[in-house]
Amino acid sequence: MLHIPALRLGKPYTSLNKTQLVHHVTGETVAEVSQVNGSQIVRDISKMEEARNELQAIPMDKLMHMVKEAGRIFATDTLPCGDQAQSFDDYIRNLSSTTGSPMVFCKRNAGKVEYVLRNIDTIIAGLTRGLDMSILDKGHGSQDGRTLCFVPTCSSFGAILPSNSPGVHSLWAPTPALKIPLILKPGREEPWTPFRVIQAYLKAGIPAAALNFCPTDHAGASEILRGTGRSMLFGDSTTTEPYKNDHRVEIHGPGYSKVLIGEDKISHWKDYIDIIAESIAANGGRSCINVSAVWVPSHGKEIAHAISEKLAKIKARSYDDPNAELAAFANPDVPERISGMIDNLLKTPGASDITEKVRGTPRFVKEGRCAWLLPAIVHCETYDHPLANKEFLFPYASVVECPQSDMLKLIGPTLVATAITEDKDFAHALLNSTNVDRLNLGPIPTNRLTWDQPHEGNLFTHLYKQRAYQQSGF
């Protein structure tokens, strides 16, 4: 039996308390994961100032080189995985087996993590807007004739990670390159990626004491959020709600990402169906950057029908099928509950699942203990229908009709908005909208990222603050 230990100050720790990871198809146990107590994590966090000092002592150019090397190691080397050795292909297979995410998705998402590590200089330049990295070595310096001084906001950075999509690991991965130690709580079904990234870091020479892999329970997660000076938290609104006013915690909850079509472009709606469909269904619709609502001034039903015709072709396929477009659910009860919830909400008049009608079969599919949800595009007659602003872990989106003039008042928080318009006034209003976190103007799928810009928060401004600095001779 493969055993994945916790890593305390980079050292393997075998706990008496282990969780079991099962294969989503067979139900067989794939691995055991050692769980640490919250109080053990707190004890380790108290040692992170020393770990940070170790990282601080490494010059930025050397640190960047190590992280780039870690990117290569992550993608090519055979690395320790508990008491066994794991090749990259083993990693992809393990990851797929416990998350239900097809191997083709896992490979694509691992590619994002590899890209971030291998291109860490570009990523850090994007986060810092081109800061001279030697300033982080000395703590202060001069750039473009201006004095700059940055101070870390914390001794360690915590991350409470999800299991739904391994691409999210690209968000925390730059942390050691910013000279801050990591305390990671992996998602229950996805210890694989964070463990492998840490192994790559260790092999590349990042100080072990700065790398902590802490599988734990909810109480342990709370201790990470309490004890680390800065953190990121992935979870649904119930999980993230208590921390919404805590500036130390960067929340990654539901994205409610949207495509908005302006009145100037609505008559050409057929030209944008491919972009909308990709935004909804890429990566199996599991990411917060997937679109969960399409807001249009008119033609709502026709648009919902056209998207449905495209997405109804998506079929449930095995995790090792290279043509897989959907992720299975690791727990087969979850999709049944989600589907039941949608059916229940459809009882409220004014909405219908167009894709189910086009496809002619139910969205819930089960084979053995494996279950999927096929795409669902729900046409909502009004923006306040209970299904108009929902996000689920499969390709789901509502199509909502709303006058352009009211859209920005009504869309609510939106992680990524692709606005298809050339209307200058509408574009100006979008640029001023505080509801929109990331804005694409023009027909750009919401899942396409530009790596030289921060997205979903800025790790650098989370981990560092600028301070005034003066120096005089004696």
Partner: protein, 385 residues
């Protein structure tokens, strides 16, 4: 072979004593002269005669199961046996994490239980005459008075803190995690003040969570800060661990104890066992069960044994309380209390665990791996302090 036979005899003797206790206690609680008003009333519903038909522990099955709803609300006087009418009486409440708290009247039981438990504490780590810190819940709980009595019984004085776990439950239900943490810090701050007071405290009662919180506070130098605030000299070697703070023995309980937490405490908080810790399992209804000494060789497994014949634990099939599970198998904890103050036949506890074999010191069934009963675990807030 001789050893096995000896254990067999011990088990048989223990069962004989248990049956005798059953007869004595049932006679007392159901006799018109000494009986308990609640049970005398209840007996009218039974199709059997408790005074004539109950002879052995197994005969307690005639009573069905005890319903904890009977303990919610008053008047509590109905639980006082006529034989004890007029005696000074305490009322203790359970945690109150599941609605209206359960209440139990007590006259001397808590003193008897803790005096018996005192005999199991090693004097090396719990020196007679040393003072105690009660770092646990205050208020209408048996535990607070029991620990104070334990300290006094061993010739010491008990220092206590104020701690209301019901407020913590409310904070958690309101998802006020920050406030709950502040309250925990407040509890620990009181403990640090007592430890800084020069009271020569060597023994302590605490819960797993407060033990971890105290350890965290000590490691971050908060006791040393207290010393500085009071203008006291910090002893050579510092005050950054439980051992350095002068504690030699810890009696711990109140909430779930996992082997992993016990190992963490042993290895990381208590200097690899230099400070002795004995976990206990107990509650207001039963009294307290002692554990086998914990050790690395045993995988830090914690096995509890009830103070038979005053109380007995059975590990039963959750779907059939009359059926004991096999040794090593998981079942629900069924609790029976058999004292002249309080009779509780077959109460299904909110816990589950594995049935453990008798051994020489406790020649009756025990239970290990105690944790919240899986059917309730998701809906109940437990172990908040």
């Amino acid at each position: 072979m001789a050893e096995t036979k000896s254990l067999e005899i011990l088990v048989k003797d223990a069962k004989t004593k248990l049956d005798a206790q059953v007869r004595e206690v049932v006679q007392w609680h159901f006799s018109p002269d000494t009986g308990t008003p609640f049970w005398l009333e209840k007996a009218k519903e039974y199709k059997f005669n408790p005074l004539k038909d109950v002879h052995t522990f197994e005969d307690l099955r005639l009573f069905g199961t005890f319903e904890d709803e009977w303990l919610r609300g008053g008047p509590v006087q109905r639980w006082i046996p006529k034989g004890y009418a007029g005696k000074p009486t305490y009322v203790f409440e359970t945690g109150g994490t599941t609605g209206l708290p359960k209440t139990r009247v007590v006259i001397d039981d808590f003193r008897i239980d803790y005096e018996m438990m005192s005999d199991t504490l090693p004097d090396k780590y719990f020196p007679k005459g040393s003072n105690w810190l009660m770092l646990g819940p205050s208020g209408p709980r048996r535990l607070r008075l029991a620990i104070e009595h334990l300290a006094q019984h061993r010739g010491g004085i008990c220092f206590c803190i104020d701690l209301d776990p019901r407020w913590v439950v409310k904070l958690i239900k309101m998802r006020e995690i920050g406030m709950a943490n502040l309250y925990k810090e407040h509890a620990i701050d009181q403990a640090l003040t007592i430890l800084a007071g020069g009271h020569d405290i060597k023994c302590m009662f605490t819960t797993p969570k407060l033990l971890a919180a105290l350890d965290e506070a000590l490691r971050s130098g908060k006791l040393e800060d207290k010393f500085r605030q009071l203008g006291k000299k910090i002893p050579a070697g510092g005050l950054k661990s439980i051992k350095a703070a002068g504690i030699t023995g810890i009696f711990s309980g109140g909430t779930e104890f996992t082997p992993q937490f016990t190992r963490e405490a042993y290895e990381e908080m208590l200097d690899n066992g230099d400070v002795y810790m004995t976990p206990t399992y107990g509650n207001t209804l039963m009294g307290l069960a002692c554990s086998k000494p914990i050790c690395p060789e045993d995988g830090f497994k914690i096995s509890y044994y009830a103070p038979q014949p005053r109380a007995a634990i059975e590990v039963v099939d959750p779907k059939n309380y009359d059926k004991l599970v096999e040794y090593g198998q998981t079942g629900r904890v069924l609790l029976t209390t058999l004292t002249k103050e309080f009779f509780v036949p077959r109460f299904p506890e909110r816990d589950e665990g594995e049935r453990e074999l008798p051994f020489e010191k406790y020649p009756w069934d025990g239970v290990s791996g105690v944790r919240p009963f899986s059917e309730f675990a998701a809906s109940t807030v437990v172990g908040v302090y």
